[in-house]
Amino acid sequence: MFFWIIRRDLLLAMRRRSDVFTTLFFFVIVVSLFPLSVGPEMNMLRTMAPGVVWVAALLAAMLSLGRMFSNDYLDGTLEQMLLSPQSLSLLVLGKALAHWLVTGVPLVLMAPVLGIQYDLPAEALFVLTVSLLLGTPVLSLIGAIGAALTLGLRGGGVLVSLLVLPLYIPVLIFGSGAVEANMAGLGYDAHMSLLGAFLLVSLVFAPWAAAASLRVSME
């Protein structure tokens, strides 16, 4: 069942590939705007890079949150999911995972390329990619709560950012912190373990909270 949901959402994404690319291009454009606004000074860009890439990833993930449930809501599929004899939390987990595969993974794959633009050393590129790999699923999971709560509301898109961005702060801090620590010649294990811990905690609690939110929003 869980796999049916993932398969379905991936299938839908494949039929509507433009949605995937919009998010990815948004990410690329935001990251490329920074050198244009602060100047091409390489030393400064190198110190800014982890923060810039991470903030752009946050914004890109958030941009696509609106779509997570709204299409299913509009065509009545969400009603069917709520009435499914399967656990709703599990379905939500499936949807969040599909969201991550469609929006998070392309960002992770693109990040090293963008890091090169900022002249990051090879090891920092690696750390950046791993931190995004651990952090972006958390963004999808926490985002699911926000998306579920703002379902069907006017101005839902902006509202989601108000609700979700403050909750993203720990991921942002430790994600970009890992890269900075590496560039400063320090260890980044602690950052990675904390990101992993955030991932585990949100895997357990976020689907459950998002399922409760969906029931509230659909009543």
């Binding site: 709560l149 801090i173 509230v216």
Partner: protein, 248 residues
């Protein structure tokens, strides 16, 4: 004396109870504020390091404390409302949010006013200031979500979920910001080495804390009464109340 507490969990009877309690708390709030400000501005000695500017802590510290207390209390009320489906608890949560946000804003603002003479800058990215700023964002998120939902019951429940998610996250956020701050310690000024405080300073501050509590209770009760009237406008008891008001 046996009081039937459950009686007051109905909005109608709470409305009149709150009406009776408000004058008492107004009195307490006024007396405590005057006493606290008197102690703070006239009795407490001038700080030998910080001069007169330190006196803003008589506003700043109570505001910062209230901002955190109120968020937790708001989340508790919202959670009770969600778990037991009690309308009044959810209304309490809705009523607390603006006051909490106000205190958060006040804490940030007075913090900036204090920071200028102390560190020569309005804002430093200190762990506490940053967490306070994020707390303001959480309040704003809660209020905007409730404002965007037309159906009051859905607004209550959705608000409760985001408040609870927020309250679980506050320690995580606080801890993250703290760590982030120590990582970048060179760039900021530490607030942690506050000089030992004179007893009168402490007294003045504590009186102001109590005054803030009383003020919060007054404003929250007043706001709950308004919310109750809005939500129950179609019921018989509100219609009767309206008749009484008109006759007066």
């Amino acid at each position: 004396m046996a009081i039937n507490w459950f009686k007051y969990s109905s909005p109608a009877s709470f409305y009149s109870l709150a009406g009776k309690m408000i004058p008492i708390f107004v009195f307490l709030a006024v007396v405590l504020t005057i006493a606290g400000l008197y102690v703070g501005f006239f009795v407490a000695p001038t700080d030998f390091q910080q001069g007169e500017a330190y006196r803003i802590i008589f506003i700043h510290v109570p505001a910062a404390w209230m901002s955190m207390f109120l968020y937790v209390i708001m989340a508790v009320w919202a959670g009770i409302g969600l778990a037991f489906n009690t309308r009044l608890s959810s209304m309490m949560a809705t009523a607390i949010a603006p006051t909490g946000a106000m205190f958060t804003f006040l804490a940030l603002w007075t913090g900036a006013l204090w920071g200028k003479p102390m560190w020569g800058t309005w804002w430093v990215w200190d762990a506490r200031l940053t967490s306070e700023l994020i707390l303001l964002f959480l309040y704003i998120g809660f209020m905007s979500l409730q404002a965007a939902i037309d159906d009051p019951r859905r607004a209550d429940k959705a608000g409760a979920i985001i408040a609870l998610v927020g309250v679980v996250n506050i320690p995580i956020i606080y801890f993250s910001v703290q760590w982030w701050n120590t990582l970048h310690q060179g760039a900021s000024v530490s607030l942690n080495q506050a000089p030992a405080m004179a007893t009168t300073m402490l007294t003045g501050m504590m009186i102001m804390v109590f005054a803030s509590w009383m003020y919060s209770i007054v404003v929250i009760l007043k706001r709950v009464r308004v919310i109750i009237l809005e939500r129950e406008s179609h019921t018989a008891w509100v219609a009767e109340l309206r008749k009484k008001e008109a006759a007066r």
